[in-house]
């Protein structure tokens, strides 16, 4: 078996949040490597450090100590603008809430990142409709977020995240605000994108039904990885 390239590597990562004199140790020495094609669930109770780790892997934040390497670039050596450029070029994001720009239609939201990348109008429109079609949202392309259900909004967010063919998609509790059916639909959509297009996903959750979709499960407790399990069958 040949080893796949790493898209994200965390080595000895710690993160301390300061609130006045109070210090909160969110991550305590994380070592984690994400391979291309991984479909990883970060699992753990609230406050275990899942979101903090995702933010670091997404170049949205800097570690207090340790190193994070994304697609071959060390985060500590990058400034704010360079991190923004890295995110735009290599990463896709799905957030728990406030995912879409309310004044843009579903298609325009998907096009948003492509436009930031400088993709031409016709090309990005075609790509947006293609991805929305793959996720069963073709007919909703011209609707604004307030005309979509929560599940549809999250699928549009997934479409946006993958439209630019990023090296890694990070999803922070993407199903947290969805009912069971919508959560299942969303996970199946992500799974399809992973299986058919090899998109690398890392998502956080504490829902066992969502975890069941992952091919790799990383458990976090109190800012430490307590297990990192690969599964052959989902």
């Amino acid at each position: 078996m040949t080893s796949k390239p790493y898209v994200a590597v965390a080595e000895g990562v710690t993160k301390v949040f300061k609130n006045g004199k109070l210090e909160v140790q969110a991550l305590r020495g994380i070592d984690l490597s994400i391979e291309a094609g991984d479909f990883v669930a970060l699992v753990g109770p609230s406050g275990s450090g899942k979101t903090t780790l995702l933010n670091l892997l997404g170049a949205l934040d800097q570690p207090t100590s340790g190193e994070v390497e994304l697609v071959g670039q060390r985060l500590t050596k990058l400034g704010k603008a360079q991190r923004a450029k890295l995110r735009l070029g290599s990463l896709g994001f799905v957030f728990q809430a406030y995912n879409l720009v309310p004044v843009l239609t579903a298609a325009e939201n998907v096009e948003f990142v492509l436009e930031l990348q400088g993709v031409g109008k016709a090309q990005r429109r075609a790509r947006a409709l293609e991805v929305l079609g793959e996720l069963g949202l073709a007919e909703l392309a011209d609707r604004r977020p307030n005309e979509l259900s929560g599940g549809q909004q999250q699928r549009v967010a997934v479409a946006r995240a993958v439209a630019s063919r990023p090296k890694l998609v990070l999803a922070d509790e993407p199903t947290a605000n969805l009912d069971t059916d919508n959560a299942e639909q969303l996970m199946q959509a992500m799974e399809t994108l992973h299986d058919e297009h090899g998109v690398t996903f890392v998502f956080s959750t504490h829902d066992p039904r969502v975890v069941a979709h992952a091919s790799r499960v990383v458990r976090l407790v109190d800012g430490k990885i307590t297990s990192d399990e690969r599964r052959e069958e989902r």
């Binding site: 933010n55 603008a81 070029g89 994001f93 406030y98 720009v101 843009l104 930031l116």
Partner: protein, 412 residues
Amino acid sequence: MLGSTLSMAWRNLGRNRRRTALALAAIAIAQMSVLLVDGLMHGFVDSTLEALTGPMMGDVQVHHPEWREERAPDLVLEDAAAKVEATRAVDGVESAYARIYAPALAAREVDGFAVMVVGIDVDAERAGGGLLQGLAAEASPAPGRVLVGARLAREQGLSVGDELAIMGAAADGSIANDLLTVSGILSTPVEAIDRRGLIVPLESAQDIFAMPDQAHEITVHGEGGPGDAAALAGRLGALPALDGLEVLPWDELSPELAQFFEIAGAYGYIVMLIVFLAAAAGVINTMLMATFERRREIGMMLSLGTTPGRLVRMIVFEAVILGLLGVLIGSALGALIVVYQGQTGVSFYDPAAEGAAGIAVYGVNFSRDMYPRLVAGDFVPGFVGISVISVLAALWPALAAARLEPVEAMRG
């Protein structure tokens, strides 16, 4: 990308329609107020200038160099008819006529009273723009017949047909006197004529005051109106026939009036400043609230890789669109109102009031309506001012938003 940034900015304005409508209303009312004040100012200046330069002063006057200072009867213009003809031939001159001003004592019975005998070219001053504009031919002064200012007639109990004896100093140093019959009462916005004026034909005045082919003044109306008076005075000053004489435009003849207009203009600027400050408060409030409310969304956009520059542009565009839209609405409303007022006129005074003399400013009674109007330049301060204010009002929240760390912003 600029197009989509503009499009997003435009759509963002529709997110809180009530707040946007309030901000638009504040800006529109500001611009409308400025235009209404400008329109009134123009109307006021027009009516004042028309009253002053129209019947009495003209746009330019020609005098003996010392006459305005001393008002002595012998400080005359020689060969008045030839000088008037030469003046009328100058490019841009609409009309020109000679006048004589002679202080005198008048008496109907026993008691005398001070008057100003004004000798005028009756035909020329009835033709247009002069003291007798619109006066019926039968009421016009003629040899031995005199027009009396309305207020003078009222105060002295004079009526048509009365006889007046006048006595004054002639230009040659002799005593001038004559017996004149009142042919009509003249209502004029010119206070000096209204209160003290006796109007006689120029030739009669020349006879009475021993001024053969002489006059004290040539009054000139230009085709370009008061606005072109300085240039016209320059051309007239170069005329050989007027060599050595004082040729002055209205604003130098009445500098206090010119200064009054400047003060009125400054008042307009103060009004503009106040209403624009109110508009600025509206824009600042709207943009601060809008940016604050969208903090998480801004965080999400920054997370995706939106550059701070694009974010700043979007917020600034939003403010500028808001500002310009408000100014457009205010301009349309203001222009409509001013055009309407320009057609109906705005009255300064209660015409039913006793005497109905109106407001006297610098010797001119405003006993007529004024007609507000706008010029293209009146719209410019609003567009420029509001655009600048909008950019400045949006920059602070925009830069603050652009400086946010994505994670920090998304926490709310």
